[in-house]
Symmetry: C2
Subunit: 567 residues, 2 copies
């Protein structure tokens, strides 16, 4: 068929084509924005969204998390992903919307540090499964107080962005976890009274390597030492549809019956629960201020300022009203445009305490070094946790860890390769899109030459090194809905740079010392080589006995050692 | 105030916190996704969205576009941006939704090459203006058939993603444009009977340089030779709030009364109007196929396949039904899940013609070279327009242009700097986020060393060169809603690579020839230097007369020239 010949449009003909676009339709067409660009990434994104939700739910309920990830190949390019947790469970009425409606959740309308924040992720994974296989998302959930578990199957009605319920039953189900001990033998099965299991089937591809589910889960275990994570991939028999291997990572042959891999928890200590905060007045724009005054439940302007914002005492609220020339007892809903501009000016000219920062829960320098030591063979480790600070009114905190290997110490870290950057946001590993990330930009922006590394202009430094960076915030500004890279806010780049520079200075001290030691070593070896010749010469000149010659050699060696120690 | 101590949540307490998030709220909080990360970018994004809409509207209506961009500073960090076009105008009833509702438009639900495609941009700009200044978006529009123009002021109700109309009047207005002639004198004012003007006031910042509005408009003029573009920036007097300058770009002092700058059109020829196409069966996933069968207006499966897809003849539709074991006369709405899987299999195993590609409207090799010559001083130019091809069922086409300067020929192009990459998608310049773009990745991925350039591993090549790349498609997959970078689809990277390689081969021919010529030149100069000495020596040995000596010199010179020519 030929193309439709376009006609010349008029205002009237164009008007007829205008239509509302549902947010599901939008993301269905733009699915790469959500991390579903290709089958390999789709698998990772799905696991990531499900595990993030599981961890958030456990921690909010004060439960030490037990999570299992079960990936089963069901066809040439089809996988079923099931993620189970021992969290608080989900009440029946909420299940359809949580799993089959985009932009629905509990984390968006609050300022609190958590992994999820958008209310998109898991519904998007289900939508992608539905798009590629026509299947539905299966949820099993049992709450503490519930008598039975609910088994619900949902699909998303993309045109309306609403869930369609295909199955809704009460079943007898409890989450079970099958650990594997460190020696490889199976441990005792763990059963929980409550928890959730979500299963999604989709077109996907399982590939090992830097961007794999394996790597994501490994890194997740490192920054969540309180998590026990059980992981299993079951592939179809080799002849039928083998897994794709990354070049150079040949491993044992796949069998149908792969056992669970368990990343055991290091301790049962949950991260200190992060608090929820109110918006800080200095991070609020004029338009938002006007909206907040319209929406407040407070009866007076003074009370609204005091109650709805962080760091505004009743006294301070009075001062702000006075500075703006407004009546502190005025109805907040009746403030006119011009008056709110005066209020906005008064706020921006008032000195206020910075937002509270105890709402953040960093990993900590000690834990970062421990995590790096566990995973990266290297000779030098260091870590810096910066004090919390603020971007656009949102508290955030940057942590940097660094591991530097001796030559040949770590086969993964080439001395001629760019350093490896591991990025985390609110304890979630970020694997894709490092080129677009403010964190990578900060690493490239540091002058590593002054710390003893080579560095092509504007690029990552070269060396056998891992740089690990964690950004914790009540609101991480990601460059896309797939949450893979942090946006370039200057404050974030600045804080990351400072932390990197501090680690860099420590690295340069280490490298200088190592260089000096190597130099001395080299000189000493050189001397050692010539001492016998020197002694022989002396022996002939001074006609020494063999015993005297040996004494000379010994004394020269001792002299050399002393010089070495003194240096 | 201290942070709120978090309590341990239960399934029930969590359920109470679940809420729907409106798409406006989502993008208000994530405004950097839409290109509103900072005041400088906000200005560019707003101009870009308004100009894109103006050009799309003009071209769809078959009108040679006349567009003006008027930027007026209204405060320390406040600007009012007004963009006027001579397009078909907008009917009154559509104005509020088009300018104050996210995800509303005419371009999303179709497969046709256009600049806009999401129905977000201009409403987002208005929303940002409202957020930062509390102001509203003003629209003036007059249609061909309308008796008067409409003046409408709207704001967006973010909680509901709906427009609020603040003003709605009939006025006497026609778009006017004030060109400046090439010699700098004002030309005759142009008045149009129809068109639209949108004005938004916002917090912004005007900065010159690579990421500026100036650069965006300059590049827009280059790839739209049929566009006349009038541009003016009026800043507050220097003492009050001067413009920020990019380091190194000192220009004449700003005055209050800056005249219009006009980018004159090169010709009145509109790009051949791109057609709209139907989805190609090989780009449709199972889930989408099922949805399309549900939604079709065709009565039989065969007719549905024939009518709703591109490249499926009635005969081919019959074959597909037979291969799937389905009745061609079956009601399409009654096809079950399992049957649609069979249908999907049958489609993917059927050979079909590739989608029609005459729906694309490339710039063309000749126009690209002309554009480069106009803007970039260089010694060598070339361009390649690839044949159209397909990603995910969407036709697309890549064009590459290349300009290489001799040493010292172009002060902007340093011989030691990475080459400059100019990216375009559907004739729109992409300035930000080059690190995240598939186009940049393709440029870095080409082995430029074999074409005679130096190139650090995995980076852009080094040299006094501009690479210009245009991707034209019925659907450009951007990495974010701000449409600044193309997502990494392998097909797109491959096509771009091929085009770059072809240009690279031509470059290497040029560079080899230039190298050879320089070599010969050098040798010749060397010889020229020694010919007189040689002649003098011969004169002495052979006792030649002065005339004979001169003859020897002349002959030697001629010999040299002949050798040169022969080489």
């Amino acid at each position: 068929m030929a193309k439709q010949i376009p006609t010349k449009e008029t205002a009237e003909s164009l008007a007829k084509k205008q239509r509302e676009i549902s947010v599901s339709e939008f993301f269905l067409k733009n699915r790469h924005l959500l991390g579903f660009d290709n089958p390999r990434k789709a698998l990772l994104t799905t696991v990531k969204e499900a595990v993030d939700n599981a961890l958030d739910a456990c921690e909010e309920a004060g439960i030490v998390p037990e999570v299992s990830v079960d990936i089963v190949q069901t066809g040439d390019s089809r996988f079923k992903i099931s993620v189970t947790d021992n969290g608080p469970g989900i009440v029946r009425s909420q299940i359809p919307k949580i799993f089959a409606k985009l932009l629905y959740g509990s984390k968006f309308h609050r300022l609190r540090m958590s992994r999820g924040q958008q209310g998109i992720g898991i519904s998007a994974a289900g939508m992608y499964g539905q798009l590629t296989t026509g299947s539905s998302t299966g949820i099993l959930s049992r709450t503490k107080s519930g008598r039975a578990a609910h088994s619900i199957h949902v699909q998303i009605d993309a045109r309306k962005n609403k869930p369609t319920i295909l199955k809704d039953e009460q079943v007898d189900w409890r989450p079970e976890f099958s650990p594997t001990r460190d020696d490889g033998t199976p441990g005792r099965t763990i059963t929980s009274r409550h928890g959730t299991c979500v299963s999604i089937e989709m077109e996907a591809s399982y590939v090992r390597g830097r961007l794999s589910v394996d790597e994501y889960l490994r890194q997740t275990a490192v920054v969540n030492p309180h998590l026990s994570l059980h992981y299993r991939v079951t592939l179809l028999a080799k002849g039928k549809a083998g897994p794709k291997e990354d070049a150079g990572s040949l491993e044992e042959e796949e069998t149908n019956e792969k056992p669970w891999t368990t990343f055991q928890r290091v301790n049962k200590q949950l991260p200190s629960p992060p608090g929820e905060i109110k918006p800080h007045p200095h991070g609020v724009e004029l338009g938002l201020l006007m909206q907040m005054l319209k929406d407040t439940s407070a009866r007076t302007l003074r009370a609204a300022l005091n109650h709805d914002f962080s760091r505004v005492s009743s006294n301070m609220a009075l001062k702000i009203c006075e500075a703006a020339g407004l009546n502190p007892k005025a109805r907040p809903t009746r403030i006119a445009h011009r008056e709110s501009e005066a209020l906005f000016q008064a706020i921006s000219q008032t000195k206020l305490m910075r937002p509270p920062t105890d709402c953040l829960s960093p990993i900590g320098e000690e834990q970062i070094v421990a995590g790096l030591k566990k995973e990266i063979a290297a000779a030098f480790y260091t870590a810096v946790t910066r004090s919390p600070t603020v971007y656009r009114g949102n508290p955030f905190q940057v942590e940097v860890g660094l591991a530097y290997a001796r030559p040949g110490e770590n086969a993964d870290l080439g001395a001629e390769d760019p350093v490896r950057v591991m990025r985390f946001a609110n304890r979630v590993p970020l694997l894709y899109m490092n080129g677009a990330c403010a964190i990578t930009k900060a690493v490239s922006g540091v002058k590593w030459r002054s710390y003893g590394l080579t560095q092509p202009r504007g690029s990552l430094p070269i060396g056998p090194m891992v740089v690990m960076i964690h950004m914790a915030s009540v609101w991480v500004p990601f460059t896309s809905e797939s949450k893979e890279a942090v946006a370039h806010y200057p404050e974030i780049i600045k804080e990351t740079t400072f932390a990197l520079q501090e680690c860099g200075r420590r690295l340069s001290v280490y490298l200088r010392r190592r260089h000096r030691e190597a130099e001395i070593e080299r000189k000493q070896q050189y001397m050692t080589l010539y001492i016998p010749h020197l002694a022989l010469g002396l022996k002939e000149i001074l006609e020494l006995s063999d015993r005297q010659e040996k004494a000379v050699v010994d004394n020269l060696h001792k002299l050399l050692e002393r010089t070495h120690l003194e240096k």
